[in-house]
Symmetry: C2
Subunit: 637 residues, 2 copies
């Protein structure tokens, strides 16, 4: 966690504040079963019951495990988000409650360091016998991330010590004793790298590398494991090895495949390790897999994993809009992956991908009031079809509340609460500004103040208050051909390098004019269509702004796009919770409405095209005004 | 069967000939397990084994039942197609083999008239205990249709007597004794109406009406039935009652829902009964359900049942192109339904729907050589995605051979072999020409010769050779605003009525100019797109004619479409089997190709549009030249 950055204002500050004020408190209630209108979570209760069992040797009354096998990770993700929130909004009561929760977790941990309440409470003799499905390493990973976050922000090392004990046990088992196997759901690999950095204990990096190295090498491991036990969690069978990226050794994997979140968590760890080890084959695999995603399998919104079957990557150039899956968590993982790729190569293209996700799919995953969430982020919503017809049943056009499988809400919370980590980074003595955000940065060598309305403004001003630094300022791809900067420096691969010292005021002017984007002709679903972007923001047309109807509209590709800045209240229909967004970009676009001479006809030959103007709003703001049509890709003529 | 019509030439004659020369002989081999390269059918063997068991009281060696529970219907559908083929192409050897097969079926029938080899061989004590799944009434229905066809064409009444005995048993059971229940897969209702017409036995009509009347009235029937037995064929559970149109009494059903073939077979019987009984509520339901299909759920190709989940109707205006299911059998059923609707109201709109299916989806279901078949008829094929990505796994871009569940090939065969029934019909003293086809018609009162190249020509000439008749000539919707006819008459609801007598030559000129079709703006998947039609033919753009690439093309909506007539050889790439199509319509269309300045970019802002001309061919000819792109709906500017 970059502790030395404080937001002043702007979009990412607003999202972080929303997490602190609304999401973290709400999720705390959820995991403690204090919310009446959603399914019981029991996530904290599971820890309490495991602690009781460990202490007393007998189960507590009504002390059974409840929930998914990975229910513990809800607590972990909440702790991680809550820890980051303390950085944004200090709260001594929350800090105290976190500390108390750490005590519960300490008691829930078994003598040898084992920690997963599902097995402690439900299958105490079956540990590590179902790496395929049981998410033990996944839950450990998330709790390690929580531990590192809590330690980084507050200095409280209780959870860190718990997870070191856990990691020590895992190292003993998988490295020292050579137990076979690797996690069905990658996650612990990236977490172990964080634990390594937080503690300096090389064994954790070694264990991360171990899981990376053995993955997919022994293709029959899961089958063998399955044959040895007589129980299962879901199917118990290996199924498609690609689903969990176990089809090939990771260094030989060619395409991003399978369950998107699993895949990109894995690739994130691979990139992190490659940046440390400088190993060529692993580095090449990371570049190959990153390209596989962003050059052939990524929606313009930064949504990835287009197939609802398996929440997975589909095949190259299959990017449907109405049936897209695009799990919020997958785009969050993409931010992680891109941020690690920056450590392999300082190229603006990686920061561009972070922006694409952070300003589009990830915030779209959350209602503007922070109370409802999307798992699935389609690029087209068709009332009456989306979430109704079986093929579209996953594609909800309005956000429901907390899910039974609650992975996305806390994941979005931790991303926004920790966005400073993506806004800034340092490497080889250069201070990198990856994403523009207003705030104050104080490092040992330099203090900088940044003013900007980005992504709703075209100016960024860096004022060096104290000290000096070599700055690397990411110039986003959309403005690379057209920007001005008041300081002398050099542009290299999407970063503008400036040597700045106290008193310097560097003003950057961006090209935020609306742009018409087209898609490769290999993508059948977007042929003849255009999407409009303003800076990093993808826009969409929603029925709420357009008399309820957007599917009859064809954009005039020659007409000027009219950029406006409006508050949500001026756009209309948004609740009060959206007011703190301030003025956002919207676009008025001219085009034509198809009008049939027979309005009831399904097919017709006689029609006229009437001039029409429609309003487009940022994609992340969609579905905040009830059920209505939405589309990102619009036919163009 | 309209025995008195003989094709001379033209498209439908060609399809009928193909059925006689290729499909019927091939399918005969399949059901007799004489084809090496496809899964064993065992369909005739099942009858032989049941016959052996009935005669000897013990199972024959290796005499087990093999195949789907409805395997018998493969034999039935083949007999029906073969019977029709004898009308097109007399064949005394085939007639003899059919007669011998009837003897086997007679022996396979049980004493009381029961006939389904699955139960006779496999579950002799479980008859009629699983109307939900067991397809007993479905198989009876298909065999009744076969019996009527064989009797109509050849006068051989062996199978007719077998199926009368079967129907008598069913009447006894369901009407006389009041056994509860109705078929999980409607089919027998329309078959019983045919059996009634062939035999004059009123009980068969009564039984058809009975099944119609009880359907969906007792919503819990299938659940009760399920509880009473301890076996199942698939899930054994009722599931979604809409899937089998049992959610409401048929007269109260509002929308076409569920499995499309089941639905439309049911609606066909309803329309047939309504035309006889003149019952208002049933008639209204038929009109409502027909409109539900053709006004809100039908692809322009006549494909229906757009959802692969359940091979089913989806919801209104959900008409995807790339993931469309559009089972061949469903469009065949639509021809049946529309032909019965003509008996409820003589409106050209019903004949238009028959044409839409007969000239587009139904022939597309069959390779031009008659040897391979599509179940699923998408309107867009994307090599590398179609039949590859899980969401598109059903949407094959090239036809495979015979299927394990072989419903579509024999269904297409019987439709084409009996197309005379749809080309002509008579009612209330009027002789109706519904579909233009070259041939000779000889009725008691009139002999007429028709010359035309339709659908590949714009002229139809009716020459009255003998006698006289009041002719009702269907003027297709596409030419209704622009046609000429040499005889004085009256146009009413899509039919042109002429009193014709010996010596009259009536020449009809149609408007076969290419037309640009648009779709209701309620259909999101077609917005901004146009489909080109010539007469009843929907055209498509295939990669084979367009340098392998059609998805980058945008049609110039203002440019003239150039109509050409070409043989398949002139178009190029078709095998010799296509030569007998003669000259077909193709269209050259002008437009633009999207060219990115960066050909590798997934998304881009810099591009140009280059003038390009593409060739379109009739949709029914697609996928005859290997794997390549195909699209019906093309972006238009």
């Amino acid at each position: 966690m970059l502790k030395s950055f404080r937001f002043t204002d702007g979009f990412l500050a607003r999202q972080a504040r929303l997490v602190c004020d609304t999401v973290v408190p709400y999720q705390e209630k959820v995991i403690n079963d204090e919310v009446g209108d959603c399914a019981p979570s029991h996530a904290v209760a599971n820890f309490k019951n495991a602690a009781y069992l460990n202490k007393n040797g007998v189960m507590a009354e009504n002390g059974e495990f409840y929930g998914q096998v990975f229910q513990d990770s809800d607590v972990a993700k909440w702790i991680e988000a809550a820890a980051y929130s303390l950085q944004i909004k200090p709260d001594v009561c929350l800090e105290k409650r976190l500390d108390e929760l750490c005590d519960v977790i300490a008691d829930a941990q078994e003598e040898d360091g084992y920690l997963q309440t599902y097995f402690t409470l439900k299958r105490p003799t079956e540990k590590f016998k179902n790496l395929l499905e049981a998410h033990e390493l996944y839950c450990s990973g998330h709790m390690m991330e929580a531990a590192v976050a809590l330690y980084d922000v507050t200095g409280n090392d209780k959870l860190l010590r718990i997870m070191q004990k856990n990691a020590d046990m895992l190292y003993q088992r998988f490295v020292t004793e050579g137990a076979e196997g690797y996690p069905g759901h990658p996650e612990i690999e990236l977490a172990l790298m964080r634990l390594w950095r937080a503690t300096g204990d090389e064994r954790y990096k070694e264990l991360a590398e171990h899981f990376i190295n053995v993955r997919g090498v022994d293709a029959e491991f899961y089958d063998r494991e399955s044959e040895k036990r007589n129980w299962k969690i879901w199917s118990g069978k290996t199924g498609d090895l690609k689903y969990r990226q176990a089809h090939l050794p990771v260094r030989e994997q060619q395409d991003a495949v399978g369950h998107a979140v699993r895949a990109v968590y894995l690739y994130t760890a691979m990139a992190d390790i490659a940046a440390v080890t400088k190993e060529e084959k692993l580095t090449e695999a990371c570049f190959r897999l990153f390209d596989s995603i962003v050059k052939r399998q990524m929606h313009i919104t930064g949504g990835i994993g287009s197939s609802r079957i398996g929440e997975a990557f589909s095949v190259d150039y299959d990017l449907p809009n109405d049936t897209a899956y695009c799990e919020t968590c997958a785009s969050i993982a993409l931010v992680f992956f891109a941020s690690k790729m920056l450590k392999l190569k300082r190229s603006g293209s990686f920061a561009d991908v972070m922006e694409r996700a952070i300003f589009n799919t990830v915030p779209a995953g959350m209602e503007l009031d922070g109370k409802k969430f999307f798992y699935v982020n389609p690029l087209e919503a068709i009332p009456g079809v989306s979430n109704v017809a079986p093929v579209y049943i996953h594609a909800r056009p309005v956000r429901p509340g907390w899910f039974g499988c609650a992975c996305c809400p806390p994941n979005a919370a931790r991303l926004f609460a920790s966005s400073a980590n993506y806004i800034w980074d340092t490497e080889d003595g250069v201070l990198y500004s990856n994403i523009f955000a207003a705030g104050e940065l104080a490092l040992d060598n330099v203090c900088i103040s940044v003013k900007t309305d980005y992504p709703f403004g075209d100016t960024v001003t860096y004022t060096v208050k104290e000290g000096s630094a070599r700055l690397g300022i990411h110039i986003p791809e959309f403005t690379l051909q057209n920007f001005s900067i008041s300081a002398k420096g050099e542009l290299a691969d999407g970063y503008y390098y400036v040597d700045a010292r106290a008193g310097d005021v560097i003003t950057l002017k961006l090209d935020m004019s609306p742009r018409i984007n087209r898609t490769s002709i290999k993508v059948a679903s977007n042929s003849g269509k255009a999407a409009i972007t303003v800076g990093p923001l993808v826009l969409c047309a929603e029925g709420a702004d357009n008399d309820g109807e957007v599917f009859g509209f064809t954009l005039d590709g020659e007409a000027e796009l009219l950029l406006e800045k409006k508050t949500p209240a001026e756009i209309g229909g948004f609740g009060n919770a959206a007011n703190d967004l301030g003025k956002v970009y919207t676009v008025l676009a001219d085009g034509y409405e198809l009008v049939s001479c027979d309005p009831e006809a399904l097919y017709f030959n006689e029609y006229r095209e009437e001039k029409r103007r429609i309003r487009l709003i940022p994609y992340f703001m969609w579905a905040n005004r009830g059920l209505n049509q939405m589309r990102v890709w619009i036919p163009v003529k």
